[in-house]
């Protein structure tokens, strides 16, 4: 039996039953694809050997559509968790992988997603070490949800904590904002538009490692502004640090088409979800060097210092606008909705 020939065109409830059909699916698709000694134990879990500090992060991925411009839910699930582990100042090495599949998902799509996961995991240098596959009835899911939980040793030089942030620290962003969210939005029913906007989903762990290698504890924080966007992450940071944040609108990298799409739908790009970028807070003395290093790195040619922490207006994020005005930036409230009227 080959991996594309399990005798079924679509996933059905039997594939999640825990019986023979489940085992077939696992043997011929999952184990064959990810084939590594951890996973091959085929036990209820896996055993890894660790020594020291281990960073752990979990995320469920529920993006719709599951195939979008620039990627699919599979690579997103790898990159998202790889990046969250990296944001802890750690070096992600292992992932667990749990699917919740809606019956009726074409087997072809499932295989495509599994292949993307493999490719993304290889690219990021992580191994899938344990997993789970559940199938839910039609109408009780949305094609496929993926949970990944990631693990990695904390970088020996890392000392990442919002406690370390002080007034004067600089805020650097690794690339243009709102790309992922607008790529998804471009395919959303009732709001769709044509563009060359692609999701920027990618793994940021090697970039993070390079930064830690060079700057170590002078890097005070990493944070990826995914759901809720840059505005929400910075609002949380202002709140947590009891410091103010000054932002320079002109310094925030933004792709032209992304900007245009936001104009059309009345969305603020600062609220839109990102995937392939992060924010780092660093001591002012190294900010220029950090930007310089990042601009040379393939993952962050458009890195930019977008603002700084200040003691002036604690807990408030203030944007200095293109035309020299000021406004408060508040976190996203509920769901990001297009403003039309």
């Amino acid at each position: 039996m080959s991996r594309n020939d399990l005798g079924f065109d679509t996933i059905n409830l039997g594939h999640g039953s825990g019986g023979l059909m489940t085992r077939d699916l696992l043997d011929h698709i999952i184990f064959e694809t990810f084939n590594n000694p951890y996973l091959n134990q085929k036990h209820d879990g896996s055993i890894i050997t660790v020594d020291g500090e281990l960073a752990i992060s979990t995320d469920s991925f529920v993006v719709s559509p599951i195939f979008f411009k620039g990627g699919n839910i599979g690579e997103l699930a790898v990159n998202g968790t790889v990046n969250d582990v990296a944001m802890c100042g750690a070096d992600p090495k292992f992932l667990s992988l749990a699917f919740v599949v809606e019956e009726g998902l074409p087997m072809e799509d499932f295989v495509k997603i599994v292949d993307s996961i493999k490719k993304a995991a290889d690219t990021a240098g992580v191994q899938i070490i344990t997993g789970d596959t559940k199938v839910v009835e039609r109408g009780k899911g949305d094609k496929i949800f993926i949970n990944t939980t990631g693990f990695g040793k904390v970088h020996p030089k890392a000392n990442i904590s919002s406690n370390k942030i002080k007034s004067g620290d600089k805020i650097i962003i690794s690339g243009p904002v709102a790309q992922h969210g607008m790529a998804i939005m471009s395919q959303r029913d009732g709001l769709e538009f044509e563009s060359t906007i692609e999701s920027d989903t990618t793994n940021l762990n090697f970039l993070v490692k390079d930064l830690l290698d060079v700057f170590g504890a002078k890097i005070h924080l990493f944070r990826d502004p995914t759901r809720g966007g840059v505005a929400s992450v910075l609002s949380e940071l202002a709140d947590d640090t009891n410091l103010g944040i000054k932002l320079q609108e002109t310094e925030i990298p933004l792709d032209d088409q992304v900007a245009a799409a936001c104009e059309i739908l009345g969305l603020d790009p600062l609220f839109v979800a990102n995937e392939g970028i992060f924010i780092t807070v660093v001591g002012a003395e190294i900010a220029d060097e950090v930007v310089k290093l990042m601009k040379k790195h393939e993952k962050s040619p458009r890195a930019s210092c977008i603002g700084e922490f200040t003691s002036e207006h604690p807990k408030k994020v203030v944007m200095h606008s293109v035309i020299g005005g000021k406004r408060m930036v508040t976190p996203l409230l509920g769901e990001q909705l297009p403003r039309i009227c």
């Binding site: 538009f193 044509e194 088409q257 900007a259 104009e263 059309i264 403003r339 009227c341």
Partner: protein
């Protein structure tokens, strides 16, 4: 009130009758199909203001310059002569 954004009319995509025309409009490269029913005078290459999926006005290029001309007239625009963006 109401958000309307200028975009360049790239092509007339369908024309059921004189009233129900549709066209593709580019907003800095982002393209949307919009109704041209309210702008019978609009032609390809015009810039139209689009609101909730319908073009509501054709932008007048001459008038667009006036904002900057006033500043010139007032002697305020000496360093801004190259201002109007024509990049699309």
């Amino acid at each position: 009130m109401c958000l309307a954004i200028p975009g360049k009319l790239l092509e007339i995509t369908s024309k059921l009758d004189e009233t129900f025309r549709m066209g593709k409009v580019s907003f800095g490269g982002v393209k949307k199909e919009v109704s041209l029913a309210l702008v019978p005078e609009a032609k390809v290459d015009d810039y139209v203001m689009v609101h909730v999926g319908a073009a509501i006005s054709v932008v007048d290029e001459e008038e667009a310059k006036k904002t900057f001309e006033i500043l010139s007239l007032l002697g305020e625009l000496e360093d801004l002569n190259q201002l109007p963006d024509t990049t699309g």
